[in-house]
């Protein structure tokens, strides 16, 4: 029997794909939307001395990237346990 056949595992994979899609959506929004496409418009707002679009391009997207990976690590740890596919 091939191991990818069970319904359980297919559900695990689907949930994983949803998590990936949501996190990559945020990844795209902070870097490409806020840091590039809307950077000029966002520059009208400021946090401290930073124009907002400039800040996203320089710092904000990088900080978000770090958070995204750790959120993924945390979510997948829980998902692995929920479906019993974690490694011992």
């Amino acid at each position: 029997m091939s191991i990818h056949a069970t319904k359980e595992l297919q559900a695990y994979w689907k949930e994983n794909l949803v998590i990936i899609a949501v996190l990559l959506g945020i990844w795209f929004a902070v870097s490409y939307v806020c840091g590039i496409l809307l950077a000029n418009q966002l520059d009208a707002y400021r946090i401290a001395g930073f124009p907002l679009g400039f800040w996203f391009a320089n710092q904000g997207s990088l900080v978000t990237f770090v958070v995204l990976i750790w959120v993924y690590v945390w979510l997948l740890d829980r998902l692995d346990i929920k479906y019993g596919v974690q490694q011992d």
């Binding site: 091939s2 800040w55 740890d77 692995d80 974690q86």
Partner: protein, 580 residues
């Protein structure tokens, strides 16, 4: 003690440490040599990945590059970090689950094709050599600038060191020296940045400091009391505009090009073999995910500091050099003038240094000041009035950055030769001992070739970095992604996709760099996309071709589909690849 003595002491001590670690972690098996027996803890793997990733260029040149590019420079910042999100979510856990040694091996097994294996191993070798040439040159340059050693001797010293620990230790030796090298390079980068941030804004965190107002002490350093209390970025924007440059925080490049370059750098990062193989070295699947997280923390520490350094250094440079009489030039300016990194040509004969847009040696430009981008990092300790030993530390940091990246790349080349070419294509029957000799020999030969590139830099080195990222983006990224996420993707589709992606990207870059350099400008580019950003299009063509071709050809065998299925579930076994 003098700067030179400090530099020799600190560099010597760091080299002794690397040699000791390499001896302690020497490889005994091919598993040791290729993947450190998969026993590297995720936090240490994150540090090693950071050092592997951050090259001589990241350490010495990037802040300076950004200081000239302003907001546009953030395609480097986002492009060279955003790829790690892709690595963590799309590649790292699945490649670790696959559990073998190299990227060409994954591509060869997944697409049950020796041709695919061969294309992948040639790409891996080409990309890695392109990259490593710059690193060996970087070692020589640091030696010559900090220690008055001719560049060629510097390259040879670096070669000898890398030769020792790469051939002896393989991945295991490289990993643990990279951990030490990360500590050296990040300390060397952060200390001057923290002090400069405190001097100018009173904030010890550079990432916040460059968005803060200038203090009284900062205004005194800039010789301009009127800047006190104003936001540093506002002062820099104002100065830039006064001198005829664009405002620092504004973007100049066409948005479409910035978009495509950023994307190309991100997927190129995710497709670079020397980064991908780092995820083979951890014990478990979840460790592969978390080591990507650690890696990005350690990388972001430097990559968020770099734009701060760029702003501090640029503001300081303009304020303390522009419109200042040469006889009153700051001491760091005169110190570094000897190296040719800064210079002054009194075109109008008034004895005053004028900094304007344009080239300093162009008689038509009013600019009189030469600025090499590297000065923005190298002169930092002196600008921050730090003690001599910190200058030595920056030298050791630059060497650590260059050596660690070089070692990771050399390992990819060595494994491509010994494991992919010899073991998996030419001589499948050879013993492990024999393979280990091929691996050590491959690493040794690769070091020598890389060193020769460092001593006799081919004119195209600076040009071909676009090649490395473009090819990784157009070949590896799509092939690996489809290999994991599309069970139906077959040999025919993947091969056609890789060939189309590689040929298109290489031809586009070649045309604008060599074929017709006169057209290398936004008006000449296709859709306004520069050669640096074309990898994005190459990858898109690869996906499209592969998808269409795979629809019209037979799906992979059940065993291959099982292999792909098994990659997706951490606790289940991966079947051996049988069909070739």
């Amino acid at each position: 003690m003098s700067i030179l003595v400090w530099t020799w002491i600190i560099t010597g001590a760091s080299f002794a440490l690397y040699i000791y670690i390499a001896y302690w972690a020497r490889a005994k098996t091919t598993g040791d040599f290729y993947v450190a027996e998969k026993q590297v803890p995720p936090l240490l793997n994150g540090m090693a990945t950071g050092a592997d990733w951050m090259s001589a260029a990241s350490f010495i040149s990037m802040a300076g590059l950004i200081s000239f590019l302003g907001r546009d420079g953030s395609y480097y910042l986002m492009g060279w970090t955003g790829g790690y999100v892709l690595l963590a979510l799309l590649f790292a856990p699945y490649l670790r689950k696959y559990g073998r040694y190299t990227i060409p091996q994954f591509i060869g097994d997944r697409y049950y094709s020796q041709t695919a294996r061969l294309i992948a191993l040639l790409c891996a070798i080409f990309v890695s050599f392109t990259y490593v040439a710059g690193q060996m040159r970087g070692v020589g340059v640091v030696f010559s600038r900090f220690m008055d050693v001719p560049i060629d001797y510097g390259v040879i010293i670096g070669m000898a060191l890398v030769f020792f620990y790469a051939t002896l230790g393989g991945m295991k030796g490289i990993t643990y020296t990279q951990v030490a090298q990360y500590v050296v390079l990040i300390t060397a980068y952060l200390i001057p940045a923290i002090f400069i941030s405190m001097h100018f804004t009173g904030n010890p965190i550079p990432q916040l400091g460059y968005g803060s107002p200038i203090t009284a002490g900062g205004a005194a350093l800039l010789n301009d009391p009127s800047t006190q209390g104003k936001y540093l970025l506002d002062v820099l924007d104002g100065l830039s505009k006064d001198l005829g440059f664009a405002a620092y925080t504004s973007g100049q490049r066409p948005m479409i090009d910035v978009f495509f370059i950023t994307f190309s750098l991100m997927i190129g990062t995710a497709g670079l073999p020397h980064i991908l193989i780092r995820f083979f070295t951890v014990p478990k699947i979840r460790d592969a995910r978390s080591s990507a997280g650690w890696a990005l923390i350690f990388i972001a520490l430097l990559y968020t500091t770099a734009p701060a350094v760029a702003v501090f250094a640029r503001t300081n440079f303009i304020k303390t050099v522009n419109n200042v009489e040469y006889v009153n030039a700051p001491s760091w300016f005169k110190n570094w003038e000897k190296t040719g990194l800064v210079g002054w040509k009194d075109k109008n004969g008034d004895g005053i240094m004028q900094l304007r847009p344009g080239k300093w040696d162009d008689p038509k430009s009013a600019n009189e000041v030469k600025i090499d981008q590297d000065i923005m990092v190298l002169a930092n300790p002196e600008i921050a009035k730090l003690p001599n030993w910190t200058v030595g530390l920056v030298g050791a940091g630059g060497l650590a950055a260059a050596l660690s990246t070089a070692a990771g790349l050399l390992l990819v080349i060595s494994a491509a030769v010994s494991h992919d070419l010899m073991k998996n294509i030419l001589r499948p029957s050879m013993s492990e001992k024999e393979e280990l000799w091929w691996a050590r020999g491959g690493a040794g030969v690769a070091v020598v070739i890389a060193g020769l590139f460092g001593i006799y830099p081919p004119g195209f080195v600076a040009q071909v970095v676009a090649f490395a990222f473009g090819l990784a983006a157009a070949s590896f990224f799509p092939a690996i992604l489809m290999g994991i996420f599309n069970k139906r993707m077959n040999k025919e589709g993947a091969l056609a996709g890789m060939i189309v992606g590689i040929v298109f990207t290489a031809a586009y870059i070649w045309w604008f760099k060599y074929g017709n350099p006169a057209a290398n400008n936004p008006a000449g580019w296709w859709m306004g996309i520069s050669p640096e950003g074309i990898g994005t299009v190459g990858a898109a063509l690869n996906f499209l071709t592969a998808y269409v071709i795979s629809k019209f050809t037979s799906p992979p065998s059940a065993e291959i589909q099982d292999l792909v299925g098994s990659l997706r579930y951490p606790g289940k076994e991966v079947p051996e690849a049988t069909s070739h």
